[in-house]
Symmetry: C2
Subunit: 359 residues, 2 copies
């Protein structure tokens, strides 16, 4: 087992990575301060991992809420269902919420934990590659609004994260690839050495070789933890984690939540960001091609959906929360392995990418 | 104009107190960082003060949402209405939310500001005595759940508070008294000198003499700011601000939100807390009588509603959020002018107070 620490002063917390962590009652119980525990999970994860999670909570007064699966349920209504469950049991402000599932469960349960009685302890048990490397690190919690993803949320840190690599064995291929999009992102934005490792080892990750997966998760979490520790509330360098995300949000909202997985949309968005960076003269054609090639090898989509034209992209990008006072600001690449801070992009090159790349 | 500062490091903010502040465009605009402003208010306050507030925001891109009046609308649904309004205008994360109204508007708009895009700037313009001395100071935001008040919320600090004492001229007598309950509370819990001043000047406050009101608001805010600065997230001394509140919550929830005003319920609760403190031998009969007498002179109810018996109180007190892991912890008085930290109270004396006091 590897242990990383996200350094945030009194709110610092450990991320445990490795096989067999679900059964480690000692680990999870060390981070449950009271007696009451509500496990939040969904209908797909519950049959696979709920029993083992509850066994590790033996001796606690635990309850469970099992939500339907999918981004469509990352809503204020689902948060209300969690509040209802907590209040039906009269759970107090020392009650602990455990999120057992992927990013949707983590974001939703984290938001509920942030709001219930103005904040109760919270533990993340991410069961997808994406949530292990991304949404479980950094304290971002949220639910969606019909007009935009993650529009309602809070910065709220867990007491710990348990990333059990064994849970990836039940992950569908498509979701594994979606998780790899975020793993690869760290190579693009700040870790050229890791990028080279990924180019050499991507097939090992697709074959789910445990050693390769563990290394990739650890390296991704280290990268993200570094960035988050530097900039907890996203006023500076943390914005670089959004490479491809503004384009990607347009894909997700334009096509309707759930048609593209988040990581798939981000993969397309990173290709568009690379294309735009090339048009602005910051990276060369060979580098833009490397971006696309690696994502393609990870079995990710690399061209935008035919249904969304440039105007549709602009429409959906403008409401994105990275939009500040009307100007469209994007994260781009100034080199392979180095992202820009948010830059205001001229309409011309942006439209050229939206109209030409992948069309 | 008086200016107090609530000291919370980078989140410190000023409270301006005095007449004519609504028209001070310089004051409010100094705390609006971007161009977009959403003013949240209600149907009672809007006809009185909205026009002047918008005039002070001249030059900004402002929008308004006018909600129905009353505690019944301090809900997640109302928060959703605010999110809908923000997203309909595509307001960004630099948009500022201005809460114009009493505690309900402040708590609700503050919670919406805490959650919208994980936090946008927020300004409080409290227009009731209660919200000027209580809910506008300390960063507590929340909405109610059918099973309990303030069960869903966040700790979130405003950029500034503008307490315009002129707005109290339109306040109904009953609400003025309800505000005085919280003012008087500071005397009971930590400021015996202020308590003596209140006993000498309560009629001046009821006559709304501007000088007396200004002094009482300032002194109350100073007391609360001191406590909050010492203990922002309510892990210690801040709990003393809840004198009478656990009893009071039972009155409010037991009778249904809106039958008793918050301050009225707290007045009854403080009398019950004084009675219980007397039974435990911490204060004498004369001191308990002083508590009741001052609240009575402020035209507040001092006996619990006939409809709620001891069992009903216990039922509604147990779900209160000051309940920790099943034990009922209360703030009581160890002297007049000095509250206890939360103490676990034996069932016997508690039941004696609930069955005997005011019956």
């Amino acid at each position: 087992m590897k242990t990383l620490t996200v350094s945030l002063g009194v709110r610092s917390y450990p991320i445990y990575i490795g096989p067999g962590l679900l059964d480690r009652a000692d680990l999870i119980q060390a981070h449950v301060p009271g007696k009451q525990v509500l496990v939040v999970t969904n209908e797909v994860v519950a049959p696979l991992y709920l029993e083992r999670t509850l066994a590790a909570l033996s001796g606690k007064e635990f309850r469970t809420i099992v939500l339907p699966d999918g981004e469509a349920y990352k809503t204020l209504d689902s948060a209300m269902a969690i509040f209802d469950a907590l209040l039906a049991e009269r759970f107090s402000r020392t009650a602990c919420i455990v999120a057992l599932g992927g990013g949707v469960i983590g974001d939703l349960a984290g938001f509920a934990a942030a709001c219930y009685q103005r904040g109760v302890p919270f533990i993340q048990v991410p069961t997808t590659l994406l949530s292990q490397v991304d949404s479980s690190v950094g304290g971002k919690t949220a639910v969606n609004h019909p007009r935009g993803k993650n529009m309602i949320g809070a910065f709220y840190q867990p007491r710990c994260v348990l990333a059990d690599t064994d849970t990836l064995n039940t992950l569908p291929d498509r979701e594994l690839s979606a998780g790899l999009a975020e793993v690869i992102k760290y190579g693009f934005i700040r870790d050229p050495e890791f990028l080279a490792w990924l180019e050499a080892n991507i097939e090992r990750l697709l074959r789910r070789e445990p050693e390769a997966l563990t290394y990739a998760i650890e390296r991704s979490c280290l990268n993200k933890a570094d960035v988050v520790a530097e900039d907890e509330t996203e006023t500076g360098v943390r914005a670089t984690l959004n490479l491809g995300h503004t384009f990607g949000h347009a894909v997700e909202t334009g096509m309707g939540y759930g048609v593209y997985l988040h990581g798939e949309a981000v993969a397309i968005g990173m290709c568009q960001a690379a294309d735009l960076s090339r048009r602005l003269g910051w990276i060369g054609e060979g580098e833009a091609a490397r971006v696309i090639r690696l994502l393609e090898r990870a079995r990710l989509p690399v061209v935008p959906p035919r249904e969304l034209d440039a105007d549709a992209f602009l429409e959906h990008m403008a409401v994105d929360k990275k939009n500040v006072d009307g100007g469209l600001r994007l994260i781009l690449l100034k080199a392979l392995g180095e992202a820009t801070l948010p830059v205001v992009v001229a309409a011309g090159p942006l439209r050229a990418t939206l109209e030409s790349y992948g069309r």
